[in-house]
């Protein structure tokens, strides 16, 4: 089966609006998390989050009309357009079969909440719900081909990658766009806050996201979008465009345990990782970097560390693991998409992005950490874990372009 690679990246995140800007920020160990104070029902409510302050204006749009669009759409449209331009396909897009797979954990629930906050009542007007985010992207950007919306909570974008890769391999598309867009809306943050899943380090918000740290007290919810153009490596070579990385393998499993709490048994998560490695035909010893799902919750980080121990075995203390959620926050639907950028940065620059705020690694998370600062390391193959609500575990293997 011919290799499929990434030839275009478009993104808008709290750390920047291009691959290079985001990669620079991740390698520099920059935090995007900050305190937000909002009024809710007449009360001031604090939360820590990482937001996209300003989505760049996509070319061809009137500024006022652009601002009137929901943020989720603007982030998606900007990122898809930028990815196509990056892949040097934007001007030819109407001549190509372009597939589109968008990761969306709960598209409609978010859509109704946002609409309500804007004064609408779409939740009670189903006749108006005629377009998906994917169809809006297709219509606005004039791209045509098969499309799918996939959702597995925090694992959504990894599924998008897997499906897009398959469509390219099958030849039912010329290229395929995969990625996700996510907004950190107040109701979702309230849901997680009530679960005691969010950090409450209000006195030091830039240090709140601290996966694997002994003093971790939850995650920081973030927002952003990242979209990728996938095509056959031979095609990329022929066109003379940049090959960021090969999508080499994918694995998935279910905990079959609980709708919210991750399974304490590491076997299901380990199974997803092993399946991804087998799909990529690599051994654990080939891994130069693992981008962990680790969000900063006591239970989840520990469970993942155990699973990594099972998979890496004797190579555990030679394989650097970091969680870039320490910098970006947890982008939920878009987490795996942004974390693919982190893996690409590692493959590209041979530098491992750190887990910042990792002052005292939890002894129960006994893996090779990258605390505080990026390290130089040989990385030919990277693994990106994303484990979602409902026990949906995914792992993606990315291989250095050659």
């Amino acid at each position: 089966m011919e290799a499929v690679c990434i030839t275009g990246i478009g993104a808008t995140t709290p750390l920047g609006h291009s691959y290079e800007a985001i990669a620079d920020a991740l390698i520099a160990g920059r935090s995007a998390t900050r305190l937000l104070v909002e009024e809710q029902a007449g009360q001031q409510v604090k939360s820590i989050t990482s937001l996209v302050d300003e989505v760049p204006l996509a070319p061809g749009y009137d500024a006022a009309a652009w601002s009137a669009r929901p943020k989720l759409e603007r982030m998606a449209l900007w990122s898809v357009g930028a990815a196509l331009r990056d892949a040097q396909l934007y001007d030819r897009r109407q001549q190509l079969r372009i597939g589109l797979v968008v990761g969306q954990a709960s598209e409609w629930y978010r859509h109704w909440r946002h609409d309500h906050a804007s004064g609408g009542n779409r939740v009670c007007q189903p006749e108006l719900d005629g377009q998906t985010l994917a169809s809006i992207i297709q219509s606005e950007l004039q791209i045509f081909g098969p499309s799918s919306s996939v959702g597995a909570a925090c694992a959504s974008a990894n599924y998008a990658f897997a499906l897009a890769r398959r469509w390219v391999e099958l030849g039912i598309v010329d290229v395929c766009i995969a990625g996700s867009s996510e907004i950190a809306c107040p109701i979702t943050r309230a849901n997680f806050a009530n679960l005691r899943a969010l950090s409450r380090r209000f006195d030091a918000p830039e240090r709140a996201a601290r996966p694997f740290d002994l003093e971790r007290d939850g995650f920081v919810m973030g927002e952003g979008a990242a979209m990728f153009v996938l095509e056959r490596t031979s095609s990329a070579r022929r066109r003379g465009v940049r090959n960021y990385a090969q999508i080499a393998g994918f694995g998935a499993s279910s905990d079959a345990s609980h709708m919210i709490i991750p399974c304490e048994d590491p076997q299901p998560a380990a199974a997803a990782m092993r399946a991804a490695l087998a799909d990529a035909q690599v051994e654990p010893s080939d891994l130069g970097y693992v981008n962990a799902h680790a969000t900063g919750t006591p239970v989840g980080d520990r469970a993942e560390a155990r699973a990594l121990g099972m998979v890496l075995g004797p190579h555990k203390m030679r394989t650097p693991v970091s969680s870039t959620k320490s910098m970006t926050g947890h982008l939920v639907s878009a987490a795996a998409a942004v974390e693919a950028i982190a893996c690409i940065a590692a493959l590209d620059r041979q530098l491992i992005p750190p887990t910042i705020n990792l002052d005292q690694p939890d002894p129960d998370c006994d893996i090779l950490h990258v605390p505080g600062r990026a390290i130089a390391h040989k990385v030919d193959v990277a693994l990106s874990n994303s484990f979602g609500f409902g026990g949906s575990n995914t792992s993606l293997v990315l291989r250095k372009a050659c």
Partner: protein, 88 residues
């Protein structure tokens, strides 16, 4: 609120949350193993306890609280602290 009243409150909240009413709720009943409460169930119940008793429960409060007896001790301590605060 005396200990038996707190026990009855806990029984009612358990039934509301889990749709099952334990036959007995002695002090030595284990929260996880015998009541089979997971952390989300426990959280929901504790949020209601907070609301009903007007107390605040933090994560650290639950360290070592593995039985019904220890949970009732915690509620009584919080209520006593609340009263002391009012008296001061």
């Amino acid at each position: 609120m005396d200990r038996q009243a707190l026990r009855n409150l806990l029984l009612d909240l358990l039934e509301q949350e889990t749709w099952e009413r334990p036959e007995h709720l002695d002090d030595d009943v284990s929260i996880r193993e015998e009541l089979k409460l997971d952390s989300v169930d426990l959280l929901s119940i504790m949020m209601r306890v907070e609301s009903q008793l007007g107390i605040k429960l933090e994560g650290a409060d639950f360290e070592g609280v593995t039985t019904v007896g220890k949970l009732l001790d915690l509620f009584q301590a919080k209520l006593a602290g609340k009263s002391a605060g009012k008296a001061a």
